[in-house]
């Protein structure tokens, strides 16, 4: 009993004086919170904020295949049943896979590829549900069926082929360097010694710089947009990854950023599919070949990545590797 009594007395002695200021702070706090809430909910413009860089007047439309059927593919059967595909993409790569923060709408070359694939597989592209999947979770998302296929700067390599299947490639990218527009010292990877270079954590470009140019000081983040931000605030001197990604960023801020040198690697971009679904993979291969032939591929490129001024390349040969 004694202990309790002492505690309460001492606490009363110290607890009482600060009470008054605390109450005023609280009132002020509530006022600020309410004001912010009012601000947030009260007024607002519809639509999305203006964007920078060139934009396409209109996006190509893709003819939806009629009476298409692929009963051997469990992924396709599931998608057909629910009436749409669920496609994994990236959200922060201008002109490749970019999401408008305001509307949540996706746009870019990868998105166009995903849309034309859906059309070829007999499901209307406007019904696709896009989901942002970070690079680190791509394999998992395909394995546990969160997404039907993945289109998002996904480089085909043997390690990944053990985990997922790849249709395509639909584009041949190569590792390159993005620097500030006023940078005159960096022309290629050989100039990176002692420079701070940013790339995505654990990515192939990151490993390549680490192995081949050990004198470069590497910095890594989860996403490239933070790297570009660091570049603009002089925290790093260069950003390295596939040229397709870098071209998009440079097109957004042509006064501040430029891509330098030639690509110093080959990164074939494929469409990721569940590993055991060979039927879907071959169907996508066929669809890609058809779209490249009828000009849809080129139209899609010109409406997105092509706006940066880089002319459409010849699409790479499709690697239709046998079923495993």
């Amino acid at each position: 009993m004694f202990r309790t009594a002492r505690t309460s007395r001492t606490s009363r002695a110290t607890g009482a004086p600060p009470r008054r200021p605390r109450r005023t702070t609280l009132t002020a706090l509530c006022a600020v919170l309410l004001a912010l809430l009012a601000l947030v909910t009260g007024c607002g413009k519809p639509g999305s904020p203006p964007t920078k860089g060139p934009a396409a007047d209109r996006l190509p439309e893709y003819a939806v295949a009629r009476n298409f059927s692929l009963p051997d593919s469990p992924t396709w059967r599931r998608a057909k049943k629910r009436g749409h595909f669920t496609v994994g993409v990236k959200e922060d790569q201008p002109y490749l896979g970019e999401r408008d923060p305001a509307t949540g709408a996706y746009a870019g070359f990868d998105i166009e590829i995903a849309r034309m694939m859906s059309a070829s597989l007999g499901l209307p592209p406007e019904r696709i549900r896009f989901r942002t999947i970070a690079s680190a979770n791509r394999e998992t998302a395909l394995q546990n069926g969160q997404i039907d296929y993945y289109v998002g700067t996904y480089t085909i390599n043997d390690n990944r082929k053990k985990l997922v299947g790849f249709a395509g490639p639909y584009y041949m990218a190569g590792q390159s360097l993005l620097v500030r527009a006023d940078e005159n010292d960096i022309h290629g990877p050989q100039d990176l010694a002692g420079k701070r270079v940013c790339s995505a954590a654990g990515s192939t470009p990151y490993q390549r710089i680490k192995d081949d140019y050990p004198k470069a000081v590497l910095v890594s983040y989860d996403t490239y947009s933070v790297c570009v931000d660091n570049l603009l605030t002089y925290q790093v001197d260069a950003v390295t990854t596939d040229d397709a990604i870098l071209i998009g960023y440079a097109a957004k801020a042509p006064d501040d950023l430029k891509v330098v040198g030639r690509p110093f690697s080959q990164e074939p971009y494929g469409i990721g599919v569940p590993r055991d679904d060979d039927a879907l993979r071959f169907a996508l291969d066929d669809a890609l070949a058809a779209r490249e032939k009828n000009g849809d591929w080129k139209r899609a490129y010109e409406a997105t990545l092509g706006l940066s001024g880089v002319p459409a390349p010849t699409p790479p040969a499709i690697d239709r590797y046998p079923a495993t």
């Binding site: 110290t14 919170l33 413009k45 519809p46 999401r99 949540g104 947009s225 570009v228 957004k252």
Partner: protein, 292 residues
């Protein structure tokens, strides 16, 4: 207890004047720092229209509100599961069976010693869970273990006479627990419990690191957009008052409960835990009963 006033004598006129001078000087220095910060903000163009314009659009506001909603969802789930796990582990630690006791102690000690982020990443990367699941599970394991210690020490802090009297009345152990000890302990421990929930609320922001689409993630999506001139500072200026405000409200609530319970006759037999600073820090010592 030494109040500040017990450290020095009541100041005389000369000292008061000196203190006033110090006060004016330090205020001037602080004002100078604030002015310098404002100057920096203006000179680096943080208040340009392009950087603030996104917040005018309903789409962006909804994005932020959705993020806030996801934060609160993760917090609510983590809070409920942590309380349940904490209760379970505390019961284990107070069990009469030695095996159960040891197992519960091992679990509690292990998860309290691990950084909560390591557990979240483990669940996310190695167990391939969804971001929300990984976040909630990680927070639950950590906060549940801390809460188990809070519960256990709360029950232990109830005066011995209460337990003895209850046993003397012929109550069983379960009855003693549920009818006598726990009701008193929970009241007294409420401030500490709420303080721990503040930790959980703060730690929901770790979800940002595993791409859970919470408040900070929504902010980053806006902040890293080249179209809006990378408005990092404006985004921080918008989201941090809301984050800090939420945590402050909850902290204040813990302090309020603590002050209220201390004067309540219902907690006479057990010392009320302070909603202390230790409890606010992840991994900090849980506020146990006051030391003798």
């Amino acid at each position: 207890m030494t109040d500040a006033t017990a450290l020095y004598d009541v100041p005389g006129p000369l000292t008061r004047r000196r203190h006033l001078l110090y006060g004016v000087l330090s205020t001037a220095v602080l004002a100078g720092i604030v002015a310098w910060l404002l100057y920096l903000l203006f000179s680096t163009g943080q208040f340009t229209y392009t950087k603030w314009m996104p917040f005018e659009y309903t789409g962006i506001q909804e994005l932020l509100l959705r993020g806030l909603g996801n934060t609160l969802k993760a917090f609510a789930l983590a809070a409920v599961f942590s309380l349940a796990l904490g209760g379970l582990l505390a019961a284990g630690r107070l069990s009469d069976h030695r095996g159960v006791r040891w197992a519960a102690t091992a679990v509690v000690e292990f998860f309290r010693a691990m950084p909560v982020l390591v557990m979240i990443f483990f669940i996310f990367v190695a167990l391939k869970a969804q971001p929300l699941v990984a976040l909630v599970a990680g927070l639950t394991l950590y906060n549940g273990s801390v809460l188990a210690e809070v519960f256990r020490s709360g029950v232990a802090a109830v005066e011995r006479g209460q337990r003895e009297a209850a046993f003397a009345l012929g109550m069983r152990k379960t009855q003693v627990m549920t009818h006598v000890l726990v009701p008193q302990a929970v009241r007294a421990m409420l401030p500490a419990i709420i303080s721990q929930l503040v930790v959980a609320l703060k730690d929901t922001s770790l979800g940002y690191l595993i791409t859970y689409e919470e408040f900070l993630h929504a902010g980053k999506l806006i902040a890293s957009n080249l179209d809006y001139d990378l408005p990092f500072i404006p985004v921080v200026m918008v989201i941090s008052p809301i984050y800090i405000g939420m945590c402050m409200l909850l902290s204040w609530f813990a302090g309020w409960v603590s002050r209220r319970e201390r004067h309540s006759p219902k907690t006479e037999a057990v010392a009320v835990a302070e909603a202390g600073p230790g409890a606010l820090l992840p991994g900090g010592e849980p506020p146990t009963a006051p030391r003798p």
